[in-house]
């Protein structure tokens, strides 16, 4: 169906302004069971199609401080939330009906430890006390349908809502670009599901939120106004959808919750406490133990990797499988290597190579290459 944009979207030339006040549902909803999205209120579910913000891949936020003596870019890829569009978008209705996001302060990356600590310090964002920044969409206006091609629909809008930082809520208005992208074989390469992209930018005045610079030395190194550039890829498939029937959904969600605490919210104490509980639950499930161990070893953005925790999970996974599963042996070797126990790591990888016939050739090749790397390291240590 290739109806022209003008036929389908008369709004294109009318620059329709809805000024639509959106459905309100109290505060920004809490995080969901796995922590990778929000609990969408029923009144929002009833409104239309829900698109969940996809964390973990894109640079969702780029916050630039351009001060006289320093330029700092802070990024984040762990924004979670959702937006709701009409089931059948039309020229008579706002393309966005509701939305909310949460931004974990611990996941704001500055690229340097000192500036990161300063950002999270009490005078600035005070991450320990206020772990998240939130935004709630309240109004959409100045809607213009700006294009349609291959069933992709594009709009420009003005978003209005409330941003809360350190318990201070400030009204925020910003221009935004919105694109609704249907699922195609091409988009599947990025994400399965129907997609929505939202791009916006705005200035954030520190004083509006009562934010202070960490100390006087930062007066000329952090700007009074931060430029914030936002790109959110959202998907009708929730980040908490478990697509693998071999994984029990409660386990899957608990592991997500564990990672949310350890990685996104920077709370290793609570995170590993939950992780230890999960470890006990899956004590005889080698695949689940290995997933847990591998996640802590390999997941990006984990500041505190508890290698003893990983070792316990990886060792038990191998006990359950009688030290005969090459993938599990490889994980055990990996953690031993990271702990500096290189000779033991080599031993486990050699054990793994005795069972490579049971796994696909590319994975077998990776294990052989890892063994060679470990052996070189062991040799270097001996020298």
């Amino acid at each position: 169906m290739k109806a022209t944009f003008a036929r389908l979207w008369p709004a294109v030339s009318l620059a329709v302004c809805w000024g639509a006040t959106l459905a309100r549902s109290g505060d920004v909803p809490p995080r969901s069971a796995g922590g990778q999205t929000l609990e969408v209120p029923k009144e929002h579910l009833d409104l239309g199609e829900v698109y969940y913000v996809t964390p973990g891949e894109d640079t969702q936020l780029v916050c630039t401080s351009d001060a006289p003596l320093a330029r700092l870019a802070v990024t984040c890829n762990r924004v979670v939330g959702y937006f709701v569009t009409p089931f059948e978008p039309s020229a008579e209705q706002s393309p966005l009906l509701a939305g909310a996001v949460r931004i974990p302060v611990a996941a704001l990356q500055t690229g340097a430890n000192a500036s990161g600590e300063a950002l999270r310090s009490p005078p600035a964002l005070h991450a320990a006390e206020y772990p998240e920044i939130t935004f709630r969409l309240l109004q959409v206006s100045n809607v213009k349908a700006t294009g349609e091609e291959n069933q992709r629909k594009r709009f420009t809008v003005t978003l209005a809502g409330e941003m809360t930082i350190k318990d201070k809520t400030v009204a925020l208005e910003a221009p935004a670009e919105l694109e609704l992208i249907p699922f195609t074989w091409r988009t599947m390469a990025r994400n399965v599901g129907e997609l929505l992209t939202l791009r916006t930018h705005f200035d954030l005045k520190l004083a509006d939120y009562g934010l202070e610079k960490p100390d006087r030395s930062y007066n000329e190194r952090i700007a009074d106004v931060i430029k914030v550039d936002v790109f959110l890829l959202c998907n009708t498939m929730s980040p908490e959808k478990n697509l693998d029937p071999r994984i029990k959904t409660p386990q899957f969600l608990k592991q997500l919750r564990f990672l949310t605490l350890v990685r996104d919210l920077g709370d290793p104490e609570k995170g590993y406490e939950l992780g230890r509980g999960l470890l006990r639950e899956v004590w005889d499930d080698a695949a689940a133990l290995d997933r847990l161990a591998s996640a802590v070893l390999s997941e990006d953005g984990i500041a505190t990797r508890d290698l003893r925790f990983v070792l316990k999970a990886a060792r038990r996974a191998n006990e359950v499988t009688d030290f005969k599963d090459p993938s599990l042996l490889s994980t055990l070797g990996h953690v031993l290597f990271d702990m500096g126990r290189v000779d033991e790591a080599v031993e486990r990888l050699r054990q793994a190579t005795e069972h490579l016939e049971s796994i696909p050739p590319p994975v077998a090749g990776e294990i052989r290459a890892t063994l060679e790397r470990y052996e070189r390291e062991a040799e270097r240590e001996r020298e």
Binding site: M1, L45, V50, F87, E88, Q151, P182, F183, T184, W185, T187, M188, V192, G193, E194, N235, T236, M237, S238, K241, L243, D244, P245, R246, P360
Partner: protein, 431 residues
């Protein structure tokens, strides 16, 4: 349109004009106790039933028995005292006959079916296809496309074909899934081979009766319907929708659709006298075609295409002027009603996960992939849930089977028999 069905026999589909009146007469007399093939007596997931309870106790309808079963998504067929299905035993496929009375194994026939190296098997290697009972024989196709004819009483293999080796059939990466279809003295199977799309075999000897032109392989099971007073074997394979003469395999009509619809898995839905509904997930959506006959040729015209209703692996059901189905692939699932008139969505409901449906006694029996069984009424205005209960623990991708008031469900590990009758569920209020 005339179709009829009798105990112990697959539905007689099509036939001579002279038989129409006789078949209509038979069709007016429901024959209880049979579910011989994919989709039930009429291959449309509807069946005659009465006396079903209006609701159930909170923990579900009365359980008759349950038993362990191997992995697989093959649905359950029922013939007399036996249920038949397929499951996986290590690197073998197993055809299983189970006593309807108590769930005990009557016989089990296994054969080697190691998975191929190029398969993606996170959802298991199958078997996904559902057996077919025709007279004294049982026909099965396993995940690696081994096609067998068995003696339904003993499980003895009477003849077989390795369709991958013989006809270049495709395992579709995740294991073969279409269910065989009886037509007169033949049994028709999707091949999706390098040279052959569909093939028919003599039921008694296994001899090839005909081979069609080339079509891609696919999961939608074929069905035979009567359009313009001729039999049409309906196919939805890849980006082609087609009608073949089921007696010869010759193509009567063929339509190409957008490649986004090529991932179709759901079976076609016939809308008499001449319309066919198809639905695909993965961004595809639903289409309604009309088959026309003019100038001595058949053509198929798309009446509408709606991208909103996307039925994935399960089924859709026509009730009156609406199609009801569970729409969704990776995102949320909606129980949905779509108008046949214009393809518009009448309503959506988020109460269930992706679900398989049966229609009996004026209600839908719904099993969602989380193992929730529900009894619901649907109309163009909306859905009313009468009862629901979570009964299965593993992913439940298999459409249930109803015979009389007995419902059979399965997931990857459990086969469950329930009584949905009024007497068995008196006083229940489960929703």
């Amino acid at each position: 349109m005339a179709k009829c069905w009798c105990p112990g026999r697959p539905p007689v589909q099509g036939g001579k004009r002279a038989a129409v009146g006789f078949c209509l007469l038979l069709a007016a007399i429901p024959c209880w106790g049979q579910w011989p093939q994919w989709g039930g007596p009429r291959r449309d997931f509807t069946c005659e039933a009465s006396g079903l309870a209006e609701t159930w106790p909170a923990d579900g309808p009365k359980k008759l028995w349950s038993r362990e079963i191997g992995a697989g998504h093959s649905a359950i067929v029922v013939d007399g005292e036996h249920l038949y299905t397929m499951c996986r035993r290590g690197e073998q496929d197993a055809v299983l006959a189970v006593r309807a009375a108590d769930g005990k194994t009557a016989w089990e026939t296994k054969y080697d079916a190691p998975p191929k190296e190029d398969m993606q098997l996170e959802f298991g290697p199958g078997p996904h296809s559902t057996p077919l009972v025709a007279d004294e024989r049982l026909f099965t196709v396993g995940g690696m496309v081994h096609f067998h004819c068995l003696d339904k009483q003993t499980g003895k293999i009477l003849w077989s074909h390795n369709l991958m080796e013989e006809l270049g059939a495709s395992h579709l990466n995740r294991g073969y899934g279409a269910s065989p279809l009886a037509f007169k003295d033949t049994v028709i199977v999707i091949v999706g081979g390098t040279e052959v799309g569909v093939a028919a075999f003599r039921q008694d000897t296994g001899e090839v009766a005909w081979k069609s032109e080339k079509f891609r392989g696919g999961y939608p099971s074929p069905m035979v319907v009567r359009i313009h007073d001729e039999d049409h074997l309906l196919l939805a394979l890849g980006a082609e929708r087609a009608g073949l003469d089921p007696a010869t395999g010759k193509t009567r009509w063929k339509a190409s659709v957008d490649k986004q619809l090529a991932g179709i898995m759901s079976s076609p839905v016939f809308v008499p006298p001449d319309r066919i509904f198809f639905s695909a997930a993965y961004g595809g959506g639903s289409q309604l075609f009309r088959v026309r006959f003019a100038d001595d040729a058949y053509t198929a015209e798309e009446l509408w295409h709606n991208t909103k209703m996307k039925v994935m692996y399960s089924d859709a059901i026509r009730i009156g002027d609406y199609i009801y189905g569970s729409s969704g692939d990776f995102g949320p699932a909606f129980l949905m009603a779509v108008s046949l008139e214009d393809g518009k969505v009448a309503w959506r409901d988020r109460s269930f996960g992706k679900a398989s449906l049966l229609y009996a006694d004026g209600k839908l029996i719904l099993l969602d992939e989380e193992g929730v069984l529900a009894l619901v009424s649907v109309s163009p205005e909306g859905v009313k849930i009468h009862a629901q209960a979570k009964l299965l623990e593993e992913k439940a991708f298999t459409v249930p089977t109803l015979v009389g008031t007995r419902l059979y469900l399965r997931d990857e590990h459990t086969l469950l028999a329930l009584d949905l009758g009024q007497a068995a569920n008196a006083g229940g209020a489960g929703s």
